[in-house]
């Protein structure tokens, strides 16, 4: 723990804040890319029922990928084409994206599938067009599952982003790799604790966001009565 509380480690180009910043940057970029791929794909498969095999086959296969092995392979393939650090950043991001896509994809698909068929039929029967059914009925109803997919994806990304340090990039993995190299166990523990704290913090943050944006009608939370004129969106009790 000494490492963690030494002020010298909290500043400078390889100080803890910088490492956390790098770690988060990789994680959030990877999450954003994964969401941009997996959410629309999950919606498409959920709504049309086309490509369900991707969910069962591909998504689960992706989960089984060994991250470190894949990372080394990608570096060998990609880095010769890029002279700069990009040759290392890109493989790291690809690995993280591949890790994050399955939970988001399967959850989005499952969320859209699970929307009450009667509600969708009623919407269509009342004259909602396909896009409006999606934005007004299917997506809001699928939101809790989509967000829980994002949540588990982010957890996985944050804990796996340490591998970027394997290929001499930054992030909290530095503390693990460098600590191991220097036989500095205090530094390794600090790295592990920080990664765990970061993961927990973002997990709680996403849980909080979920409570704010998901309708209480879906989560079945009890709400305290609000004035009639105001729309009730905010759960008061959980």
């Amino acid at each position: 723990m000494n490492y963690l509380f030494d002020p010298a480690h909290w500043s400078g180009a390889d100080g803890i804040p910088t490492l956390i910043g790098e770690h988060l940057l990789y994680s959030l970029i990877a999450l954003a890319i994964a969401a941009v791929i997996a959410v629309p794909l999950g919606i498409y498969i959920g709504v049309t029922g086309k490509g369900v095999f991707m969910i069962a086959g591909l998504a689960n296969a992706l989960r089984a990928l060994p991250s470190v092995g894949l990372l080394i392979l990608l570096v060998l393939l990609i880095s010769p084409a890029f002279p700069s650090r990009m040759g290392y950043i890109l493989p790291s991001l690809i690995v993280l994206v591949l890790l994050a896509v399955p939970p988001i994809l399967t959850n989005t698909y499952a969320g859209v599938r699970a929307v009450d068929a009667a509600a969708v039929d009623a919407a269509r029967g009342m004259g909602f067009r396909t896009m409006k059914i999606l934005t007004d009925v299917q997506l809001p109803c699928a939101l809790p599952l989509v967000l829980s997919g994002v949540r588990s994806a982010l957890l996985q990304i944050i804990s796996t982003a340490t591998i970027a340090a394997y290929i001499s990039l930054g992030g909290l993995g530095r503390l693990l790799i460098d600590g191991k190299a220097q036989n500095d166990y205090s530094q390794m523990v600090a790295g592990a604790v920080l990664v765990a704290l970061l993961a927990l913090f973002f997990d709680q943050l996403l849980a909080f966001i979920t409570r704010r944006v998901v309708s209480p009608g879906l989560t079945r939370r009890t709400i305290k009565s609000a004035p009639v004129a105001e729309p009730v969106k905010t759960p008061v009790t959980v």
Binding site: A118, V120, G125, S215, G217, R220, V228
Partner: protein
Amino acid sequence: MIKFENVTKAYPDGTVAVDGLNLEAPTGKLTILVGPSGCGKTTSLRMINRLIEPTSGTIYLDDEPTSGMDAALLRRRIGYVIQHAGLFPHKTIVDNVSTMPVLLGESRQKARTKALELMERVGLPASFAKRYPWQLSGGQQQRVGVARALASDPAFMLMDEPFSAVDPVVRGQLQEEFLRLQREIGKTIIMVTHDIDEALKLGDQVAVMRVGGKLAQMATPSELLTSPADDFVADFVGRDRGYRSLGFTKTAGSVAIGEEAVVQLGASGEEARAKASGAWVLVVDGGRKPLGWAQPELLNGELKRENLNLSGIPAAASGTMRQLLDAALSSPSRRGVVVNEHGELIGTVTATDVVKAIEAEPHLETAR
């Protein structure tokens, strides 16, 4: 008016769901499509708002063929109620009911005000406005479904088994209230049900369909009971046809109503014995509303509420032969209590009197 002209729905695998259907649902009336499962009744309904496209034939909405219309715009002109209500689970009740007006461009505030009025109209307390669908029972959800369909005040309504997912007691209530509502609003409605009793109870006219998507008979409920077109219809309409058809025969003053001596609560045993005809005496309150029957022989002291037999069902003088006969049969004295529209006693009838009146009437078949 909604009209089917030679409408057929055939699927690529060769199944014919609806076969050359010709049918007209008159303006302001409730037309019911009824039949066993697989008869194409729901398919027929869903072809009206083009959730299913007909293979051939034309459906008209007030003489306008629906095939040329934009499907979404067509659907916005027609109220749509389905079996499990299909409420939006993420929206409050008031927002569910506001759906159509908001879709048609009304402001949310105005739509909510209208929604609250409609909720009251279908028997939902205003306190439900901020609740979510999961907090309501099935029957309450179905009321919301009806309110939602009515919110844009459409001229037409399609209802697919609207009352079949709730228990029989609630179903009865919903049916009664819906009949009352329809008398006020007079929409052109087509309703699908598999329940012949519901069809006979609610329909201004009933279209019986047979498996294979063909129309077996289109008639008023009483015609279906008294002159079914063929064995299939007769069988489908079911047992007790004779008795049930009495439910469509108004008494219209044809039954002799006898005078009945009455006593009030608190009467002495002596007074009750003096007024009684046979073993029973009728007890009324101060406003001449019938309370029940009592047996003076069993009285110990003055007449109290616990001495009353409550098995009799009073019938309205303006009611049907079936209600009148049931009043007589259910009464312990065998004299059926007849009341006016305020529930005040007019007199009593016997089953014999009712049957005599029935026999004097020509059978509906010959009367037509």
